[in-house]
């Protein structure tokens, strides 16, 4: 089983078009992504949560996210929690204005030059949260910080989604073809830690297939073949974990 990729932090910006602060969230998120913390962050497209972006949902389920909102409606934070998991951090532009004693941003399509200070302050706050989240231990099972102690250096990824999200993918054979299953390893880890085990009856726990279907499209009519392939992966995972426990 390949080791998981180095953790990244997802940034979900509301990007709302009707408020200057929405534009601020978009520009600040991009500044953090492109300039301040390019190696530690990925962007998550908020509308994709509802439109069926399995990769974005999977990332936010298993990895820490920072929601960045322009107003108290907190669309980014609430939608992330609704469709995946509670964000590890939530930042609202008003809080940044208060902390830095800055005036409210002006301009929708083009922010005024004075509003650049708000973008910079928000981007700095995002970067600080990224640093914090990269320094603590993160539980993929619980989707939460384990403790405040610094994490040991994680193994280098051997299998990560080509989309660049950092989500691990596992390749399985289904009907003679190689199929990539997104987030399979964290899903198996979650099931194992919940007490499920492979047994001799050959039955794959329903929860595993159901969770896989949340983050992957299983073609109609191929459910049984997917279940067989997942069962093999599940058994291999359980054997590996039990071997680690005994060894």
């Amino acid at each position: 089983m390949p080791s998981l990729p180095k953790r990244k932090v997802g940034i979900v910006a509301c990007s709302g078009e009707e408020l200057p602060a929405g534009t601020v969230t978009r520009l600040a998120a991009l500044k953090a992504l492109e300039d301040l913390r390019p190696s530690e962050t990925v962007t998550i497209c908020l509308p994709l949560f509802l439109a069926g972006g399995e990769g974005d949902r999977a990332f936010a389920r298993f990895y820490p996210t920072i929601a960045v909102d322009g107003c108290e409606k907190r669309c980014a934070a609430r939608a992330t929690e609704l469709y995946s998991n509670k964000p590890a951090a939530s930042i609202v532009v008003d809080d940044i204005l208060a902390q830095h004693n800055l005036p409210a941003p002006q301009g929708l399509r083009r922010l005024t030059p004075e509003s650049g200070a708000v973008v910079d302050a928000l981007a700095g706050a995002i970067a600080a949260e990224v640093d914090h989240l990269m320094a603590v231990r993160w539980s993929r099972t619980d989707g939460a910080i384990l403790e405040a102690a610094p994490a040991a250096q994680e193994a280098v990824s051997t299998s990560a989604c080509a989309c660049g999200s950092g989500i691990p993918v596992t390749t399985v054979q289904i009907a003679g073809r190689a199929v990539q299953i997104m987030a399979l390893e964290p899903i198996l880890e979650l099931a194992y830690n919940q007490g499920l085990r492979a047994n001799g009856t050959g039955a794959l726990p329903d929860e595993i297939l159901q969770t896989v279907q949340v983050y992957n499209t299983v073609p109609s009519g191929e459910e049984e073949q997917y279940a067989q392939a997942l069962d093999l992966a599940w058994r291999a995972y359980c054997e590996q974990r039990e071997g680690q426990s005994n060894g």
């Binding site: 078009e17 978009r26 497209c45 908020l46 509308p47 994709l48 972006g53």
Partner: protein, 137 residues
């Protein structure tokens, strides 16, 4: 009851084509047809905001998407809105290959021009929808 044509861009963050949709939406709503159009933020629809849902349910909606996942169109339909016309940046680019968009925070000249092409098409569609019986403020 007065109604405006609602414009919903995907505004996909982190992608140039998403920025083109956002820019085109602003060009329509602020410059070309400020009296007959309004933007509804997609983030509000994703969350199920009642005001945003009511806005798209009670009007004809034009969507703009930056990629094939068509988030704007799908989210409007899931919110119960009727999509009168859906535009994609890729289609506009295929028709105007000299206008290569680049940049995310700030579009290059090609991206600005491509956004203008889209905005002009949306303005024309807006006029057709209005002429077809949509009341407006």
């Amino acid at each position: 009851m007065s109604k405006r044509v609602i414009i919903v861009p995907c505004s996909g963050i982190g992608k140039t084509y998403g920025t083109v949709t956002r820019e085109a939406a602003y060009q329509v709503a602020e410059e070309l047809r400020p009296e007959t159009t309004a933007i509804v933020p997609l983030s509000l629809l994703v969350l199920g905001d009642e005001g945003a849902r009511a806005a798209v349910q009670g009007a004809q909606v034009i969507t703009m998407d930056g990629c094939s996942l068509a988030c704007a169109t799908l989210n409007v339909r899931q919110a119960g809105g009727a999509v009168a016309k859906d535009f994609t940046v890729l289609d506009a680019f295929r028709r105007n290959k000299a206008l290569k968009p680049r940049g995310i925070s700030e579009l290059n000249e090609g991206g600005q021009a491509l956004a203008r092409v889209l905005a002009d098409e949306i303005a024309q569609t807006t006029d057709e929808l209005i002429a077809g019986g949509v009341d407006h403020a």
